[in-house]
């Protein structure tokens, strides 16, 4: 179950970390379906943590905040003022619940990559990223249709000031940009960052431990120790990248909503 476990005596050789380290075909609880694997339980625990922590934080809020409430308010205001209100202006309250949930869910799951026990960013499994990107797509497309009705299509597909003889070129391009590439890039950006980050950590840890325990070669052992130590620095970098990707995903969702509901100038 531990993906970076050292090769057994029998194998003898070194197996570099690969795509296979992200495939989990064993259910965590024996007897449950195979899709209830490690990433599944991480996502569930992540969601429960988000719900539970925010639920706790939102109980008994006081005008004069305690230390814990101050911290919760800090994060809340980061999403509320820093993302939602800055980008969506007067419409922000409608979308704030989704954006807040999105940011928290992403942040916790990304940080699972550096958490003991989990040690895997949930979104390094692309399916979860596709799911969230699809939801964000629904939100910003839905917001556009809700506000402009069918006129949203015209608004989204025909930018203002385009001469009529270019429309045959612009409309398919705009369709691709608005309805196809946006969700795909959202999902892939998140997935690829988490996937690659985790792979880098694996390389340093697995390779480092392999070298560290390599018999009869002190140079290998020293470089292995250095690389294992260095993996801690990478873990800190991954903490930062996890937060950054959560932020980017949320900001871009807000940005897409903003372009959907923006009045024509």
């Amino acid at each position: 179950m531990i993906p970076w476990a050292l090769p057994t005596e029998g194998g003898g050789g070194y197996t570099p970390p690969s795509v296979n380290d992200f495939i989990f075909d064993v259910p965590v609880i024996p007897g449950t379906p195979v899709w209830m694997n490690k990433p599944f339980w991480q996502a569930v625990i992540g969601a429960l943590l988000v719900v539970g922590l925010w639920w706790l934080a939102s109980r008994r809020l006081k005008l004069k905040p305690s230390k814990g409430q101050f911290f919760a308010e800090y994060i809340y205001e980061f999403v509320r003022n820093g993302i939602a209100r800055d980008i969506l202006h007067q419409d922000y309250k409608k979308f704030l619940p989704y954006l807040l949930g999105l940011f928290s869910f992403l942040l916790i799951n990304n940080w699972f990559g550096e958490f003991f026990v989990f040690m895997l960013p949930t979104f390094s499994n692309v399916g979860f990223a596709y799911g969230l990107a699809f939801l964000s797509w629904c939100v910003y497309v839905g917001a556009g249709f809700h506000k402009f009705g069918i006129g949203f299509l015209k608004k989204a597909l025909i930018p203002e000031g385009v001469p009529w003889y270019l429309l045959w070129l612009i409309i398919p391009l705009e369709f691709l940009a608005t309805f196809v590439t946006r969700p795909v890039t959202l999902a892939l950006r998140l997935f690829a960052n988490m996937f690659a980050g985790h792979l880098v950590v694996l390389v340093f840890v697995v390779g480092g431990s392999f070298l560290l325990t390599y018999a009869g070669n002190p140079v290998f052992n020293v470089s292995g120790a250095v690389s294992v130590l260095f993996s801690f620095a990478i873990l800190f970098l991954e903490l930062f990248i996890g937060a950054l990707q959560a932020y980017i995903f949320t900001v871009l969702t807000a940005q897409y909503v903003s372009t959907s509901v923006a009045e024509a100038h």
Partner: protein, 183 residues
């Protein structure tokens, strides 16, 4: 060496890790995110927004109260100033009135005095006139006698004829008067 599990493998397209290994991941992701969203929507965001509203009201209320107090203080000051200025005005008015009244009294007293003095003068003059007239009458009577006596003494004869003598005296007096008038 690289066994990629994927349904698309047979069709020749290998998406690698871009293909969800378990399609359930997509559904699980959506469901969990919806759950998170629901809690945020129904519980967390309303609670925080209520807090911010309350805080805003509190601050707004404080500001309003301060503004109100300031306005009241200003009103009181204005009232006080008004009272002060009206008191000043009144004092000035009273002073002016007193001055006027004083002047009037003075004028009245002066007028009264003038009248009184005029009256005294007039009455004095009238008395004098009366006394003079009386004196003149008396004198006229006596002067006639005296003059006659004097003339008789001078002429040496008694003027027995009183009527002629009276005529002479009257003529004499008339002449005197005429002389006095022309002079």
């Amino acid at each position: 060496m690289v066994p990629v599990a994927g349904a698309l493998l047979e069709s020749g397209i290998d998406l690698g890790p871009l293909l969800p290994h378990h399609l359930s991941e997509v559904i699980v992701g959506i469901i969990l995110m919806l759950l998170v969203f629901l809690v945020m929507w129904k519980a967390v965001v309303p609670a925080f927004e209520k807090l911010y509203d309350e805080r805003y009201q509190r601050i707004e209320g404080g500001l309003n109260r301060a503004e109100q107090a300031e306005a009241e203080a200003k009103a009181a000051l204005a009232e006080y100033n008004e009272q002060l200025s009206s008191a000043r005005e009144e004092a000035a008015k009273i002073r002016e009135e007193a001055k006027n009244a004083g002047a009037q009294l003075l004028a009245e007293a002066r007028e009264k005095a003038t009248k009184e003095s005029d009256r005294i003068l007039a009455s004095g003059r009238a008395q004098l006139e009366a006394e003079r007239t009386q004196l003149m009458t008396e004198l006229r009577g006596e002067i006639g006698g005296l003059a006659t006596t004097l003339a008789g003494k001078i002429v040496g004869e008694s003027l027995a004829d009183d009527e002629r003598a009276n005529r002479t005296v009257d003529r004499f007096l008339d002449e005197l008067e005429a002389a006095g008038k022309t002079r």
